[in-house]
């Protein structure tokens, strides 16, 4: 069990926690938090597999991918939060209800 393997497993568990919370919680901000946690898990997995090189230098291609991913994640989070605030403004609640009023 090397360091990279440990972090890769942690990344997979984070993805699972984030996905589960995305499904079961109804508040929009909590869903966005869960998506961020899941995204961080995926990035951790990517960089952990990048660390498994036979030399001392890690593989820089997944590093670049994760850097791009972090920036895209923050812009998607900003847009999602703006939409959530707008939903709250229009419907009065930031929580997805199960029974839609007809």
């Amino acid at each position: 069990m090397t360091i990279s393997l440990l972090y890769a497993l942690v990344g997979v568990v984070l993805l699972g926690i984030g996905l589960y919370s995305l499904i079961i919680y109804s508040h929009l901000v909590k869903k966005i938090l869960a998506l961020n946690v899941a995204g961080s898990g995926v990035f951790l997995f990517l960089v952990a597999t990048a660390n498994q090189t036979s030399g001392p230098v890690p593989d820089p291609v997944p590093h670049a991918m994760v850097l791009t991913g972090i920036v895209v994640a923050v812009s998607a989070t900003a847009l999602a939060l703006a939409l959530a605030c707008r939903i709250h403004q229009v419907t009065g609640t930031a929580r997805l209800t199960e029974n839609e009023p007809e």
């Binding site: 090397t2 926690i17 961080s40 929580r95």
Partner: protein, 112 residues
């Protein structure tokens, strides 16, 4: 590079992994959203440490600035817009439109 890690490596990485997992679980199970966002900011900082352990220093810089700082600030601003100390519990959110909520000056000023 990947020889079997020594005791200091095991200790540090094990504790860091445990802290990251516990933070993620706690932040998604807490009904108080403000507490969840604060835990998320500290989760971002712990992830920054994990990136350094994985020899990804550029990502550590970016995560500390963007992931923890900026995303945390965005969440706090959004929580402020969503009625102060919002609880994500199924309380009775009385939906009286407070006057400062959203936008009183719905100016017809989309003039571009």
């Amino acid at each position: 590079m990947d020889e079997f890690p020594n005791l200091a490596d095991i200790a540090f990485d094990g504790i860091l992994a445990l802290v990251v997992l516990v933070l993620a679980w706690k932040l998604l199970r807490s009904p108080n959203l403000f507490k969840a966002v604060v835990l998320f900011i500290s989760f971002g900082l712990m992830m920054s440490l994990a990136w350094i352990r994985l020899k990804a220093v550029d990502i550590a810089l970016a995560e500390a600035a963007i992931g923890a700082g900026l995303t945390g600030a965005l969440f706090l601003i959004a929580l402020g817009k969503l009625e102060g100390n919002e609880h994500s519990d199924h309380k009775n959110n009385d939906t009286n439109p407070k006057s400062h909520e959203g936008n009183p000056k719905m100016a017809s000023g989309s003039s571009d």
